[in-house]
Symmetry: C2
Subunit: 199 residues, 2 copies
């Protein structure tokens, strides 16, 4: 019986996952973007890469059945089930202290990049930089002309996505603390989310 | 008087550039993709980031007047002139030894990732990983549904793009040695290209 692990609001959480296990990521409150990273367990220099994934699946967003690839072009996760409308993002950087500075913040603002580092550090890992994340539930539509916009997530409370581990890995999540743009819904209130490790 | 510097076919070349100088990148033979990176001169941990750029300019491809941003969200280059049709790519990873393995290569194949490392090493710099490149002249169209395809460049021989340095930086180029997909034109023959540093 799997148990539910909380990703607290505005925070990160990392967890070891064995090859063949799956991670069920639940959008508990429905509008919460969850930045997602995956690292190869025995080599943090190899990690899930959005630019390698797009080149391999030739899509902007992975759909059920699609695999995510590492910077060494190895399968690391496969999206095996998705009860959301399937709108996720592979295009945008994780928010960071600099991003909030550009948005006008003068004090420290929680951010996904620092959340990733803290979550990995809690497991004893130090990372050198922030890879481009898989932004689960994030809604960044594009036009045929190539314009992007920030829109509210389309996922409803309790909807989930399941990612199967293709090798031993460390999964890391951050519940995006963005409250200055409507990426976490029109009310712009970041919430917690949950995940389960399935055998 | 600026002089022309060759980026040999299938190879990389890096060069120091001062704030305010511009780099004129010439597609000498017209169909050659040139993977492009830029690093902050006094801190290689800060570099041009496609994911940060897309988030800031809210576009898939920068146009004349648009600025490219670092992973710390600082302006690093501005596209000030472009005599090509303006088709470049920010979505795909640099090719690497793993990519050619997936395409069926059993021997070593020249690749942009190794070219970047070698070009930086020739200036005395060691890099820790390959950031997502700005793929100048590369033609990767998207559909409204989010499908990507590999198409021939639209640039003609002698057409060029000018990038202005917003801070002291190291620019690195690789003439993409891809000869298994038509990213360098239908004839799939990688060629050299040239650049000039303008005062």
């Amino acid at each position: 019986m799997s148990h539910s692990i909380e990703i607290p609001a505005r925070r990160g959480k990392a967890h070891e996952v064995k090859m063949g296990q799956s991670i069920k990521l639940i959008n508990t409150h429905g509008n919460q973007v969850v930045d997602t990273w995956a690292y190869v367990a025995d080599d943090l220099g190899e990690y899930m890469s959005m630019e390698a994934t797009r080149a391999t699946i030739t899509k902007l967003i992975p759909a059920v059945g699609d695999t995510l690839y590492t910077n060494n072009r190895r399968p690391i996760l496969t999206l095996t089930e998705d009860t959301t409308p399937g709108i996720h993002d592979t295009l945008l950087a994780a928010c960071d202290r600099y991003r909030y500075g550009l948005l006008g913040c003068t004090d420290y603002h929680d951010n996904c990049s620092d959340n990733l580092a803290a979550a990995m550090e809690a497991l004893g890992y130090n990372i050198s930089h922030t890879p481009a994340p898989l932004n689960m539930f994030m809604n960044i539509p594009w036009t045929q002309e190539g314009s992007l916009s920030f829109e509210s997530p389309t996922s409803k409370p309790g909807q989930y996505s399941i990612l199967k581990a293709e090798l031993d890995l460390i999964i890391a999540f951050s519940t995006c603390p963005q409250d200055m743009l409507p990426v976490n819904g029109e009310n712009q209130i970041p919430t917690n989310a949950h995940f389960e490790i399935l055998p």
